[in-house]
């Protein structure tokens, strides 16, 4: 049992080149960029298109971009989700988008689209990290 654990960690170390978290950070900043680093081009394009389109649709539906330190726990959770979008969130804030229209049902859908795009981006960044360090086999 012990020997197999040592073998697994040795295998992981063999496959992990240089900075192990670079794929995670790049994947978080730009959706799919972590997969570009691991040379999974089609996956990278699909992830970029899916997450960016979801974020853009959320903004177009008048969804809200949450801000930090509003004092409300639910708003802080929303901010954590939005932050998962990486540069898309930062660009949205710089361009002063995502004020949210509370009287529209579609605006509420938009807010959820933005939060889920952020959470999906975190999942894809973790996947890129796992591919990078060899925890997930490449096909």
């Amino acid at each position: 049992m012990m020997a197999s654990k040592v073998q697994v960690s040795a295998k992981l170390e063999e496959k992990s080149p240089g900075l192990p978290y670079v794929a995670f950070v790049l994947g978080w900043l730009v959706p799919g960029l972590g997969h570009v680093l691991t040379r999974h081009w089609i996956r990278a394009v699909l992830l970029f298109v899916s997450i960016t389109t979801m974020f853009t649709l959320g903004i177009m539906m008048q969804g809200k971009l949450y801000q930090a330190n509003t004092g409300d726990v639910l708003e802080m959770l929303g901010f954590a989700g939005d932050l998962g979008c990486g540069l898309l969130y930062i660009l949205g804030r710089i361009m002063d988008l995502g004020h949210g229209a509370v009287q529209l049902a579609t605006a509420d859908y938009g807010t959820k689209f933005i939060v889920v795009a952020g959470l999906l981006n975190i999942i894809s960044a973790v996947d890129a990290h796992n591919l990078r360090i060899g925890r997930k086999p490449t096909c």
């Binding site: 899916s50 539906m61 859908y109 795009a117 996947d127």
Partner: protein, 59 residues
């Protein structure tokens, strides 16, 4: 401003979320496609089932 119906929003949400789930939760491309389709059917199917349940409760 984009005004989507509830159902078209569900279809778009299911499509994009299923693509990400398929890619990240499976290792080989064939399994990714199958899992992505499974997630899509589950998203949309559960929404349709929930809609009918709510319609029956309302009656």
């Amino acid at each position: 401003m984009l005004m989507l119906s509830h159902f078209s929003a569900v279809l778009l949400f299911a499509t994009f979320a299923s693509v990400v789930f398929g890619i990240t939760q499976r290792t080989n491309p064939k399994a990714m496609v199958r899992y992505g389709l499974y997630c899509w059917v589950m998203f949309v199917g559960i929404v349709i089932a929930a809609s009918w349940i709510m319609w029956l409760i309302r009656r």
